[in-house]
Symmetry: C2
Subunit: 432 residues, 2 copies
Amino acid sequence: MLKDCDWIVTQDTQRRVLRNASVRINDGRIEEVGNVKALAKDEVLDCKRKVLIPGLINTHTHLSMTLFRGYADDLELRDWLEKKIWPLEKRLTGEMCYRGALLGGLEMTRTGTTCFVDMYFHMEKVAKAVDESGLRGVLSYGIVDPPDKDGIERQRQYTLKFLKHVTEMRNPRISFAVGPHAPYTCGEETLLWSKDLAEKEDTLVNIHIAETRGEQAQFEREKKARVVDYLDKIGFLCDRVLAAHSVWLTKSEVKLFGKKGVRVAHCPVSNMKLASGGATPVPEMWEAGVPVGLGTDGPASNNGLDMFDTMKMAALVHKNSRWDPTVANAQKVLDMATIEGARCIGREKELGSVEVGKRADLVLLDLRDPNLIPIHRKETVVSDLVYSANGYNVDTTIVDGELLMVNRKFQNLDREKIEEGVRLSVAELIPQ
Amino acid sequence: MLKDCDWIVTQDTQRRVLRNASVRINDGRIEEVGNVKALAKDEVLDCKRKVLIPGLINTHTHLSMTLFRGYADDLELRDWLEKKIWPLEKRLTGEMCYRGALLGGLEMTRTGTTCFVDMYFHMEKVAKAVDESGLRGVLSYGIVDPPDKDGIERQRQYTLKFLKHVTEMRNPRISFAVGPHAPYTCGEETLLWSKDLAEKEDTLVNIHIAETRGEQAQFEREKKARVVDYLDKIGFLCDRVLAAHSVWLTKSEVKLFGKKGVRVAHCPVSNMKLASGGATPVPEMWEAGVPVGLGTDGPASNNGLDMFDTMKMAALVHKNSRWDPTVANAQKVLDMATIEGARCIGREKELGSVEVGKRADLVLLDLRDPNLIPIHRKETVVSDLVYSANGYNVDTTIVDGELLMVNRKFQNLDREKIEEGVRLSVAELIPQ
């Protein structure tokens, strides 16, 4: 039982914020919210001077890339990829991906993210890290079509093997998604195969769409169509597609997303840092009924996994680009990081809010921290979360009712061991 | 003595980053840097697993407004000021300003800012808070010309009274600046009076310039001149002027700043949040030789005082608006928050870097925090500070050799007492 929280930001349909309220957790789910009486059998966590929020949902990252944090910054996208990131990725082993994912898990736990969507290689190893970290992960193997037919078949086998692996893990916190990397790295056949597999397995297609102007230019040149129009024409768009970035969309492409039920993982920090240019048309997406979540993207282009940082940036970038301070208000932004994030992964009935019956993925922030003083009234708590808080104000992180961090102490991850593993991996990957 | 820092980011002229190095402090100054042997008399602070940087310099804020944090967000600038902020400010007492400034001091200490430039009312009370907090402040009373002649004289008397107060405090950490609020709130006479006083007292003129398009439009309409051209014509521009914001400048106005030696306090978070629009022409300022520092602006429009947040935003907003990821690189941005900030307040010989003879204003960050793992090599430490770090990674803050926070414990400020003071002030200011 989480007793006597100063505030509970429920993110329920009425977006209620409760004062001096408690939550009872039973069997990994939220059993009661509000004026809850402690029972003799309850284990009680005192939550005075804390605000309880739903665990944050990071809808787009590449967790193992935490190993590359800070390795190469302030570069043109092409230089960054071709000279820095790809050469490293060629040398990555499964063990390294495991170590990087554990470090990422440590940072997410520290900063209040309880669920994330990932795409990378060596995903069995990422799944192992998620299993150990206690976090919730939607994991996809990143499919890139190689030039040869055999290669394409091999990529499919990797995905199917990973699906089998996830199924056999039987860990309810770990789920499988199909991960065709992008329309410019996967041919029509692979894209449709991915969609079919997602339908068969009742899961998501996790894909990068229209991150750069270059991608749109390439499609206009080669396919005589905008990327989204092309994807529509081949029959790829549907409500299983989670489209990361989606920066360079026209209004009509946004409307097509709305019509087909496509969801978007908006990654403002990464887009700004890599200077994708422009601004993702998020207000137009809302207007078109597109569910929009937030993602940090990989820590090589952010350089962190702090969703509070991403929330603030999301609010500010849209105000700035529209010259309108009322756009992307705090409530809309918190929605993206919680209930709308849940909607993006098709789990809004289970995740994303503090409501009876939902999974107990919960986060507490410490209101004694100076940057969270004062809190003026119920209506401003959400504003404080988006504009004033940072991930290090989180002091307790809970997934499925399990305590992953309490009073800033990690409960199941061994910080020192993870750090040592990262040190060894980096030394092997990047000899000095 | 700060012994065995993993890294020291010196910010000296060669921007050296030292590995496994130490610093000896004597009488408030840095006496030795590098391979320093501990002497028997030395008090030693073990700095293993820490990075030492110069204390950050916040070149523009309104500290007492920490009371208003989160009170009114997502509003048009005019609504925000007229309906929310100004009515509150009319009711502010000196005691409230003192409480707000103490809270701001607590947050700056927590997040590694050691020196700041302030403009507000009741500045004697702000000075009292700075005195108690142990921080370094450059303080100015915000002069706004009232409609009547007597009022103008009264404003000048406030400034002179505050000057006398600061002089009598004889606290070397507290210095006086003249604070004409802005060209649109102060007439020519007040502006020139301010400049003359600054020259006589050998100090700064702290002023807001060209924060909004509206200000430029007003000057073009009323004075038939751009703001900076007008200020030049009346003979106001000189190397004592610290111009906050300076968002809406033409290239020729930027060049005029360069020619006259004007310095700029760039406030990216506040500008984005209030949707000032556009992007401050910082790269053009660098080209014109204008010293540019960073400011958070007041916590009512940020909503915090974390200079790490401001550094990241500064790097990202320029990359994003120029579509160029190489602009505003990590080193340039850290410079703004340290040595260039010192240059903005005319104290580059004393502050802003870890060098022998400078004041011991120093900050340590904890490298065990997951978001600061791994650090790849000497060249990437600066990148990690700008893109990965946040203010809560700071674990030790030192001003003039005095420990203000050690291992995240405040040494001289009483967090609980400050919080209670803020609670009382807010209750009085904003009855529920």
